[in-house]
């Protein structure tokens, strides 16, 4: 009985501790972006790694998402004789929901996991300790460029996703299913407001910060994960954790942001 209580207590403590650590981590990392010296090259490099290299996947998945949306949307809308609204249906679901969420999940898989593994290996081979002993702040040196790159890349990737998705929807809806071309764009023009775009941008910014924070913190604290194993196994566990936790958090925050902004 006491044994159970003790286990429960230590489980809770461990997780409260972890959340606290994540919070401090996020705070220091964001602070370190603002603190001088400012170096532009590392940010460009990280933006290339996180953003540019993700563009192809984003385009591919964006196109198919838009195409499927048009297929499904046309099928449903035509039941009510509302095919004319296809454009706005595709655009709104992409801008408000699917664009930010799917782009974030793609980024988690493509860049977040890599980031976690990279930082985890640095931790395990004492490279982070070495940085600290050289009086180089690991937050400034490693984290700040990654966070800056995430904040820059995520909204842009989301925008690309949405634009390509709308084009994909156009190709299927207008090109394949024969919806009215003018109506596709005019309904979009009439129904998409600035609030929708604002929501999309806010979501993508939040998701960007969340992904980078979770993935790099999991790598940074790889030595503190309980039952995480050591060395390579520890890094692999941390990476899995990072991806799962990022995806769950993205969906959770998607709900929260939507309910706040609606």
């Amino acid at each position: 009985m006491f044994d159970l209580l003790e286990k429960l207590g230590s489980y809770c403590l461990y997780h409260v501790n972890q959340i606290g650590r994540m919070g401090m981590f996020l705070f220091y990392a964001l602070l370190s972006i603002i603190r001088p010296p400012y170096k532009i090259y590392p940010i460009i490099r990280q933006t290339y790694l996180i953003g540019t290299l993700s563009i192809f996947v984003i385009i591919f998945i964006g196109a198919f998402t838009g195409m499927v949306l048009a297929l499904q949307g046309y099928h449903t809308l035509s039941k009510f004789g509302a095919e004319g609204l296809l454009g706005s249906a595709v655009a709104l679901s992409l801008i408000r929901e699917l664009g930010p969420v799917l782009a974030a999940i793609i980024l988690t898989g493509r860049a977040g996991s890599a980031m976690c593994a990279e930082i985890g290996v640095m931790r395990n081979s004492e490279q982070i300790d070495a940085l600290e002993c050289m009086a180089i702040d690991p937050y400034k040196y490693i984290m700040a460029p990654k966070f800056a790159a995430g904040i820059i890349s995520m909204p842009l990737l989301t925008a690309i996703f949405i634009v390509v998705g709308i084009a994909g929807g156009y190709a299927v809806g207008v090109g394949m299913l024969g919806a009215n071309e003018g109506m596709y764009f005019s309904s979009m023009y009439n129904d998409v407001t600035f609030d929708d775009v604002y929501m999309g941008i806010m979501k993508s910014l939040c998701f960007g910060v969340l992904i980078i924070a979770i993935c790099s913190a999991k790598g940074y604290f790889v030595h503190l994960i309980r039952g995480g194993g050591f060395g390579a196994e520890g890094v692999s566990k941390a990476t899995t954790d990072a991806v799962v936790l990022s995806c769950v958090t993205i969906l959770l925050f998607d709900f929260i942001i939507t309910s706040v902004l609606l």
């Binding site: 290996v121 081979s125 490279q127 600290e132 002993c133 009086a135 180089i136």
Partner: protein
């Protein structure tokens, strides 16, 4: 010249799981002197250094550098103190996705405002000194263990540190290379007058370099003595260490 300790360790204890590794370590490191820590593998020599560097918090006891307690020091003070450090880790801890050149240049690039030419001059100078010319564009994974050590040393010395910590600098080097390295230490210390803390198994060679030798045994420091006194010490633990590592030739029998 009066000697003054820059690092003072008092009653340092550290337990991992059920094993108490450090059981009350007392050690003073004197300014401008070379202190060598010897002792068997797994005794906690690297652990002591990590405590001094502020990477690990003690369970109890105090570690002071420049009179500041490392376990509750502020971030800013800690950074300031570490500005004076030059550290070689036991596993070298090179940045494995950077070339040798970039590894050595990193402290200069991050901590100074030198131009690339100045940095290049200094780095090439260090590379020459450590005899690793021609490896500039190689990555740590492409080097032998001994070469990695020398890159680590070059990186540790590049900013003219005031306190250096070398954890087994010569392990993995052949005899000629390690003698060469000791010559380099000797010269750089004469120039830079740094305080040195060296962990080494290179007995008796290291004794020529040492001002003080401290033996870590069973979680406590057994005497921190000048090398001559260390070799002739009556302390049974030190005596045994000296006999097993150097053979009876150097120890007590010499006087007979």
């Amino acid at each position: 010249m009066s000697e003054r300790p820059v690092i003072e360790i008092n009653g340092l204890r550290k337990t991992f799981g059920a094993i108490e590794v450090l059981k009350g370590v007392d050690l003073s490191i004197m300014e401008g002197k070379t202190t060598v820590i010897v002792g068997g593998s797994g005794q906690g020599k690297s652990l002591i250094i990590k405590h001094i560097l502020g990477l690990i918090r003690p369970d109890s006891g105090s570690v002071q550098v420049y009179g500041k307690e490392m376990s509750n020091i502020g971030k800013k003070d800690l950074k300031e103190i570490r500005m004076d450090f030059g550290v070689l880790f036991q596993n070298s801890a090179l940045f494995d996705s950077m070339t040798v050149f970039d590894n050595i240049a990193l402290p200069l690039r991050e901590r100074t405002h030198m131009s690339e030419e100045e940095i290049s001059d200094i780095v090439n100078d260090k590379i020459e000194m450590m005899d690793i010319v021609g490896s500039n564009e190689k990555y740590p994974a492409q080097l032998s263990g001994g070469m990695r050590k020398r890159v680590g040393l070059a990186r540790a010395l590049v900013l003219k540190p005031r306190i250096i910590f070398f954890d087994e600098p010569t392990t993995g080097l052949d005899v000629a290379k390690s003698s060469e390295l000791y010559r380099i230490f000797f010269h750089t210390q004469q120039q830079l007058k740094y305080t040195a803390v060296i962990v080494s198994h290179d007995v008796p060679k290291i004794f020529k370099l040492a001002d003080y030798v401290a033996l870590l045994n069973n979680g406590v420091i057994q005497g921190c003595l000048p090398p001559e006194e260390f070799q002739l010490s009556d302390d049974p633990v030190i005596k045994e260490f000296v006999e097993t590592t150097m053979g009876p030739l150097y120890s007590g029998e010499m006087e007979v």
